[in-house]
Symmetry: C2
Subunit: 160 residues, 2 copies
């Protein structure tokens, strides 16, 4: 019962950030996506690709699904923002944004509350035994904060 | 047991953001605090005052302590960033930042895990009965996201 409540709270927080970020990203025109959030800083298109690729990884890190966008790692995770990433069209990236989050929602729906308190794949059994906070739900909470962090930046470049 | 685990996870997430933000704010010189995070956007000093004043309110919203900085509401909560807020010295604001979070840590330490799942003062009994996710811990999780959101912006103005 309480497990369910806490899982609901954490998933609600995730959904709130994802919905807000999705609305903002979709509202940018192709040209606007090429604007940096501040002079000399990441462009919006980079942050769009960065977040969706990171969230694509989440399914595997959580051990609940498979990745689809390995081909984006180099441009949006491994390297900082640089010329050339425009080869990924805004239309493609926006579609991936929607798809990756729809898939995650589907994966989440298949988990029982207790599953969220099991370890994720970025921690081994020994470390998890020492620190049971390093569970799947905690990873979701960290990722939620990561979205909020970049959303604050993207918002600076938003038209309204 | 599980209640304790959730509470630990949520407080850890809060502490992580507060520690990161505190380090960044303290590293700004007085002049640097007057820089906007992006052209035409909030200055760092505004976000410092905004977050600390908002967190000062939290003790009362959570129903666990009293406020100290009512006099900052007008400049940092009610109004957007505007000329004149420099009357609050950086030294004073940085000290308030440390003090408000130290007080909150003390208040949090006095709560039992079950206390976190009671309603906060921004929701009434009737609404809370309908939606028990609107508890104190959820408010802490929301505020944690709010810090992350602005931290992403402040980071843009950070020297390193």
């Amino acid at each position: 019962m309480e497990q369910q409540l806490f899982v609901t709270m954490a998933i609600n927080a995730w959904n709130t950030q994802i919905t807000r970020a999705g609305k903002i990203f979709h509202a940018f025109t192709d040209d606007e996506l090429l604007k940096p959030v501040a002079p000399g800083k990441n462009r919006v298109i980079y942050l769009l690709g960065h977040l969706l690729t990171y969230h694509d990884m989440m399914a595997e890190t959580l051990g609940i699904g498979t990745r689809h966008y390995h081909h984006l790692d180099n441009d949006f995770i491994i390297n900082p923002d640089k010329k050339g990433i425009e080869k990924h069209s805004p239309e493609e990236l926006k579609q991936h944004w929607d798809d990756v989050h729809q898939r995650l929602t589907g994966y989440f729906a298949q988990l029982q509350p207790a599953d969220w308190f099991k370890r994720h794949n970025a921690v081994n059994d020994e470390d998890f035994a020492k620190d049971p906070t390093r569970n799947r739900l905690n990873l979701l909470m960290n990722r939620t904060g990561h979205v909020a962090y970049h959303l604050g930046q993207v918002k600076l470049a938003a038209v309204s």
